[in-house]
Symmetry: D2
Subunit: 438 residues, 4 copies
C-alpha cells in the first residue's frame, strides 16, 4: 500500500532532496485539486485517504511547502470576492449576500470536508491542524480548519465516559502520555488515580473512538484538599467513596493540540459535577485544586514594588529567597515567606489584570466558567514544577451549580471576580504598596 502510494506520489520517506520534497508537496496539492473536482464525488474516500497518507509521508519542510500551496491555491478568488462585494453594495439583497458568502468561503473548507471522508480522516485533520499550529504562520488555513473542527467537535457530539481500570490499555496509555499538570509515572501511578476514591472522566468523539479529547482527574475526599502531594501519593489510603463529602478536580488536560482553542473544559466540568451529584448524594462541594501558573513570573516582573509585608523590603527581596534551593523545607524561612506571599497571591489573582480579565490563565478559565475563588493554600504543591511556577501555592476554585450563571455574568459584564471574603481581606494587606499593574 505504502509502496503503491509512494509510486503514485513519487514519494520516498527518506533522503528527500529539496527539489524532491517540493515535487512531493506539489503532487499532494494536485491530488487535492482532483479531490475537489468532480472525480472526488465518485472516488472521494479513496483519494482522500491517499492524500492524508502521502501528507504524513512528507517531512517537515515538505509539509511547509504543502501549507504554502494550500494558502496560494485554495484561497478565495480575490476577483470574485471583489465583484460579489460590488454587487452586494449596489443591491444588498438575499441573493447578492448569498453570492458574497459563497465568494468569501475558502475552497479549503470544502477540501477539508472531503478529506474527512477518508477512513480515519478526522484524526488526520486534527493532526494536520496540530502541525499547522506548531509550524506557526498560515493563519488563514488554521482559521479555516479551526472553524470546521469547532463545528465538528461541538459539545453536542461529544460523549462523556468514565475511565477506570476496565478501560482499554490503548486509551489508558494515552492518559499516561498526555497528562500535563501532574505527570503520571507509569501504570502503578495511573492505577492509583483510577481507584475507588478517584474518578477520571474524558470526552470522546465518535470519529476518534480511541482518543480522549480532554480528561479530568477527581479525588473524592473528606474535606476540601489543600495539598496535592497527598493526593498523588501511591501509598495514600483509599477513602470509601460513599463517605466523601467533597470532589476535588486536581488535574484537567487537553489531549489534542490540533483542537486547541475549541472550548470543551467548562462542558466537561459541568457534566462531571452532574454525574457525581447523581452518584454520590453526600458530596456537597465541588472544588478544584489548581496551580497559579503565572504567579512566580509576575513576582519577578514586579520585583521593584514594595512587598506590603513588614518582613520584606520589596518583592525582589522575596524573589531572592525563593531562589534558595530547599527554602520550603526551612520552617522559619517558609513561615516568613508565607506572610509575604499569600497576600501577594490574593492580590495577584484579584487585581492583576489584562484586558479586564485576570492575568493568570487558570484563574481566567475557572472564573469565566462561573466558579468562585475560595482558598489560597500555602505549600499546596511542593514539587519542582509547583515551586517554580506557583511558588508552591495552590488554589481552590469552587463550583456551585446555583451560582455559576450569576458569577459568570458579573465576571463578563462587570469584570468582577467571585471570591471568598477572606481573600479580599488578604489582597488588601498587599494593596497599599502595589498600586499599579499592567
Amino acid at each position: 500500500m505504502l509502496t503503491r502510494l509512494a509510486e503514485l506520489f513519487g514519494l520516498s520517506g527518506e533522503g528527500q532532496t529539496s527539489g524532491g520534497r517540493e515535487r512531493a508537496a506539489a503532487r499532494v496539492t494536485e491530488a487535492c485539486h482532483r479531490l475537489l473536482s468532480e472525480r472526488g464525488e465518485v472516488s472521494g474516500a479513496r483519494l482522500a485517504s491517499e492524500i492524508l497518507t502521502s501528507y504524513e509521508n512528507l517531512d517537515a519542510a515538505g509539509r511547509q511547502s504543502f501549507f504554502d500551496l494550500l494558502l496560494k491555491e485554495f484561497s478565495p478568488d480575490p476577483v470574485e470576492v471583489g465583484q460579489a462585494g460590488d454587487a452586494y453594495r449596489d443591491d444588498p439583497s438575499v441573493e447578492t449576500l448569498a453570492r458574497l458568502q459563497r465568494a468569501v468561503e475558502s475552497p479549503r473548507q470544502e477540501l477539508f470536508r472531503r478529506l474527512n471522508m477518508a477512513p480515519g480522516g478526522t484524526r488526520g485533520l486534527v493532526r494536520l491542524q496540530a502541525d499547522l499550529m506548531k509550524a506557526g504562520g498560515h493563519v488563514p488555513i488554521t482559521t479555516d480548519l479551526g472553524h470546521l473542527l469547532t463545528s465538528w467537535f461541538n459539545p453536542g457530539f461529544l460523549t462523556l465516559k468514565r475511565i477506570d481500570w476496565h478501560t482499554s490499555a490503548t486509551i489508558l496509555e494515552k492518559l499516561i502520555q498526555y497528562e500535563a499538570v501532574h505527570q503520571i509515572k507509569g501504570w502503578e501511578d495511573l492505577r492509583r488515580r483510577l481507584e475507588a476514591d478517584r474518578r477520571c472522566y474524558a470526552f470522546f468523539h465518535p470519529a476518534l473512538p480511541d482518543e480522549p479529547i480532554i480528561f479530568v482527574e477527581v479525588a473524592l475526599t473528606r474535606g476540601m484538599s489543600d495539598k496535592v502531594q497527598p493526593l498523588l501519593d501511591l501509598s495514600s489510603s483509599v477513602v470509601p467513596p460513599e463517605s466523601a463529602d467533597c470532589a476535588v478536580f486536581y488535574s484537567i488536560t487537553n489531549c489534542q493540540p490540533g483542537l486547541r482553542g475549541v472550548p470543551f473544559g467548562s462542558f466537561l466540568l459541568k457534566q462531571v459535577v452532574e454525574d457525581l451529584e447523581r452518584e454520590f448524594h453526600r458530596i456537597r462541594r465541588f472544588a478544584t485544586l489548581s496551580p497559579v501558573p503565572g504567579f512566580r513570573s509576575w513576582l519577578s516582573e514586579n520585583a521593584a514594588e514594595p512587598a506590603g509585608a513588614v518582613k520584606f523590603t520589596n518583592i525582589a527581596d522575596i524573589v531572592a529567597k525563593l531562589d534558595e534551593p530547599g527554602w520550603h523545607e526551612n520552617e522559619r524561612l517558609a513561615a516568613k515567606l508565607r506572610e509575604g506571599l499569600v497576600p501577594l497571591c490574593a492580590y495577584y489573582l484579584l487585581r492583576a489584570k489584562r484586558d479586564k480579565e485576570p492575568v493568570d490563565s487558570v484563574a481566567r478559565f475557572h472564573l469565566r466558567n462561573g466558579a468562585r475563588l475560595e482558598r489560597i493554600n500555602w505549600l499546596g504543591d511542593t514539587s519542582k514544577a509547583g515551586l517554580e511556577r506557583s511558588a508552591g501555592i495552590m488554589v481552590n476554585y469552587v463550583y456551585e451549580v446555583g451560582n455559576l450563571e450569576r458569577n459568570h455574568e458579573r465576571y463578563i459584564w462587570e469584570s468582577r471576580v467571585a471570591a471568598a471574603s477572606g481573600i479580599e481581606t488578604l489582597a488588601r494587606q498587599a494593596i497599599t504598596p502595589l498600586t499599579k499593574t499592567r
Copy 2:
C-alpha cells in the same frame, strides 16, 4: 418540565390566539438571543434544550413567525458587511478578507451550533430544517442550516450498519414508516425483506442512534432480476445466499426530509457493494432494479409526437391505451404497447435531457454515480404506482467498481450516458420522430 417551560415562555399548547402565538414566537427568539450572548457559555445546554422544546410547542403559524424573526434578527449586519467589503476592496489582505468572512457569516450559524449542545439537539435541528423546507421560503435560513448539516453529516461521520431481525424494533418500525419506493405492509412483509437472501443496510449518525439516515434494500439472486413483484412476494422461496451471483438493489430511501440535498446515496451504495463483495465471493454483478419515475408524465408532455412504432399513430395514441384500466393483463394489448414503449423509454433515458443531464431523476442519480444503464424491463413493476409513474417499466443500472470513475467523468464532462449497446439501438428505433426535447 413542560409546565415550567410553558411558564418561562408563556406558551400553551392549544388555543393559541394570533397575538399569543406571536408573543410565543417572540419569546423563543429572545431566548435565542440569550443563548448567543455570554450567558449561553455557562448554561448553553439547558437554554438550548428549552428553546428546542418550546419551538416544538409552537403551532404552524407560530413557527412561521419564529422563522420570520430568525430571518430578521439573526442575519448578517448589512452595514458591517458593507464596511468590511469596502475595507477589503481598499486593501485586499488576509486580515480584511478574514473580517469580511466574519461579517457575512449569519449569526444564525452560531445560534444553530449552540442549539446543537442540547441533548437531542441534532435531531431537533434536523426537524427544524424539515419544517423550514416544508414551509418553503426563508431560503437564507435553510441555506445556513443546510450548510451546517452538510458539514455535520459528512460521510466520514456516518456508520454503515446491517439491519436485520436482530435490530431493535425502534429502528425496524422506522423502515416500515419511511420506505418510499415499495411500501412495506407490516411486520411480516418487513421480515421477508430481512431474511437470508435479502440484505438491508443503513447509514447512522452517532448523534441520532435510533434514526436511520438512508437505507437500501438488496436481494441476493441468481441472475439479474427483471421484475420487482417476485422480490416482494411474501411467499417467494428463499435462495441460499451463498449460491447467489447477483445483488439487486431494489429500493433506496432517504429517511430524513431535513437532510434533503445532503448527498449520501452514492456513498451508501459503494460501501454496500464493498461489504457484499467481501462476504459473498460468488456475487459478480451489482445492479439496481429501479423505476423510471418521470417516464409517464414525459409521455403525456410529448403526446403530439409520432410514436416511432408502426402500430401507433403518435404518443397520444399510446397514452390513451395506458389509461385503460387493466391494460397490462390484456396480453395482446400489452404486447403491442411493449413494441411502442420500450424504444420510447430507451429514448427517454438516453436523449431526454435538461441542463445536459437526463430528465429522469433516478437515471440522473445512478448515472452520476458512474453506473451503466443495462436493461429495460417490460412490466417490471405492475403495481398501481409502477403503472402510473413508469408505465410498468423497470430498469437495471449496473455498478461495476472498475468503471465507475470513467463513466462518472464522461457523464460530467461529455454528458455521455453509459449504456448497454442494445439500449442505444432501441433508442434509435424511436429517434426519427422525436427530434426535440426541452
Copy 3:
C-alpha cells in the same frame, strides 16, 4: 452440510419407512457412543453438532426409537451398581462411596455434557428435553437431563434484562409467541405493553442469547389494579411512570418447555421488585393480578355441596348460571353470583388443599414465594378464558420484601396461608356448608 450428514447417518427427512427410521435412530445412537469414547475428546464439538442435527432430522417415531436406545444403552450398568453397592455395604468408606457414586451415574449425563460442546448445544438439549417431556415416559432420561439443566440454569448464571422497544425483533416476536396468560395480539399490542408505564423483564442465559427463559409483564399504576382488561386495552392512557405508587405483575410466562420444573419464577419476581424499587422511589406496593385457574373446575367437582349463600341452593345451582352465555353482562345475575362466588373463591384459596398446599397452582406459586393473598376481584377478567377458568375472578397477591421469609416459612412448616383478614372472613361465610375437600 445437511447432505453430508444425511450420507453419514443415512437419513432422509421425508418418506422414512419404519425400518429406515430405526436404522437412523440406531446411527445417531452409534454416534453417541463414539462421542463418549476417546474420539470424542478430539472431535467432540463436530461430532456433537452432527448428532444434534441428525436428531433434529428424525421424525417423531424415529425420536421415540432413539429415546428407547438412550434408555437401554446409556443407563448405569446394574452389575457394577450391584458390586459397588456390596463393596460399600462391606466397608462404607470414602473410596467405596465414591465408587458407588460413579457406578450409579448414568453415562447419559456425560453424553449430554459432551453434546453441549456443539455450537448451539445447550439449545439443542433444551429442545431434546422438551421432546422427551412431550412424549412422556423415559423418566430416567428426563431426570438425568433435568438434573443437568437445573445445574446449568442455576439462577447465578441468569441475567435479568429489561425488554422494551429497543430490544431486537428476534426476541420481541418470541414474547408474542410465548405469552401464555393474556395473549399478545400482534406488534401493536406488544408495543403498548412495553411503553412508559409498563415494564417487561426477562431472564436470559448466556448460551441462549436470543431466547428469553421466563418473562414477566408489569404495569405501573396508581392504586392496585383490580381488573385486567383496562391494563390490556390498547387505547388506555399512559400513566406518567414517576407518579405510579403500585407495580402490578399481570403476567408471568415460562418460555422453554424443556426447562419446566427448573424454578426461576421467584428469583425473577424478587429481582424485578428490587430493580423497580431502585428506579421508582414512590412505588410502595408490589402486587400481582393473577387468575384463579382451578376455581371453575373445583366448583364443578363440588357441585353437590351447599353454596353457603342464601340465594343459591347449592353450588350446582351456581355452576348452571355460569354456563349461561353473557351472564357477566347481566347486571342483576352478576350481582347475585358475586354474593355466592366471592366467598366460595376465598374458601377455595384458603381451605381447598392437596398435600397441605392449596389446590390452586397459581396460589401455590405465590404463597410458596412468601406473598400474601390480598384481594379477590369480582369480574377481574371477563375474557373468554378468564370466565372459563376463574369464573371471571382475579386475585391480588402482594409481595412485601420484609415479610416474604416469614410467610414462606409459615407456609412450609405450618401450612399457613398468609391472607388479608377480610379474605378469612369471606371464607368463613362459605365455611359451614363446605366441610370437606380432598
Copy 4:
C-alpha cells in the same frame, strides 16, 4: 456490610483465637444448613452471599475447620445409602436406582449449587476449590465441587476472545500475573506480546467476565521457530502478519488453580487454529514451541545408565557437565553435550513412559490432543528455568487438523507416539544403552 456480617457470624478478621475460629467456622456451617433448608428458597441469594463473604473472612485454620464440617455434615447419609443399596439389590428397577442415585449424591452438591446464586458466587466457588486443593485432603469435597465445576465450565459455555491492546487493563494485568511459562516482565513486555505479529487468545466464562480461564500466546513467523528467546526479545522486529507462514504457540497458561483438572487446553488450541486459518490464508503450519519439563530430572534419575554417545561414559557424566554454570556459552562443551543430549531427549520423549503414556507432562498433553512430535531444538530456551528443567532443549509439536483424530486414536489405543521420522532415528542412537525405564 462487613461489620454487619461480622456481627451475624461473630467473626473478626484478626486476632482469632482457636476457640473463636472454630465458633466462626461452625457459624458458617450453620448458615449452610439454613441455605439448604426451605428458607434458602426465598432468601437464597442473600444468604449465599453472606456465607461466601464470611468464608473469605476465615483464616487458614478457620477454613480447615469449615472443610472438616463440610465433610462431616454434608455427606450422604450412610444409613440411607445402605438401605437404598439393599432396595436396589432386592429389586433393581428404575425407581430403586433413582432412590440410590439420590441417596449417594452429597448434600454438598446442592449446597454448592445454591451458593452459586450469590452475586459473584461462581468466582467464590472457584476460589473455595483452589483453597481445598491447596490445603489437600478433603477429597470427597474436592470431588463434589470438581464435578460441578466441570459441568459448569463445559466448553460449550466458554467464549474465545482475542486479547490485545484494546482489552481492559483489568484483564491485561491478569496475564502479567498468571503467565507461568515465560514470565511477563511488566507492561512493555506484555505490549510486545500483543503486537501485530503476535496473538493472544483466552477462554472466558460468562460468570467471570473479568477472569481469563486459560490463555495461549502465539507468534506469527516465517518458518517454524526453534528458539524462544528471539520471540520474547522486546527489540525483535515485527513481522508483517500477512507474510507469516507459521503460527507458533509458545505459551499456554491455566489461570484458575480451582479449575485444575477441567480440560480446556485442547479446545482452546483447536479453536485458535480455526480462527487463525480463517484470518491468515498463508499460514500453513501450526506448531508449538514447548519445554521438556521432565527431561532434566529424568536424566538424574537415570544417571547410572550409559549415555549412548561415544563422548560420554554414562549419563552421570553428562549431568555433571550440566551443573557447570554457563556451559551453554562454552561452544565446545555445548557441541559435545548436544551430541549426547539430543538423542537422549528423543529417547525420553518416545520411550520413557508411565502407564503407557510418556513421562513428560507437556508431551502427554500435546500427543493426547493428536499433535505430532516434529523437532527437537538444541538450546531452544537458554533462560535459567529453561536450562534447569529442559537442559535448554525445546520441542515443536505440530497440529495438523487432518491428522489429529488418527494420531489421537493411535495414541490412546496403541500407545503410539506420532513423531517425525528423524526423531525415531535419534532415539535409536540412544536405544542400546537405555533398555529399561519405569
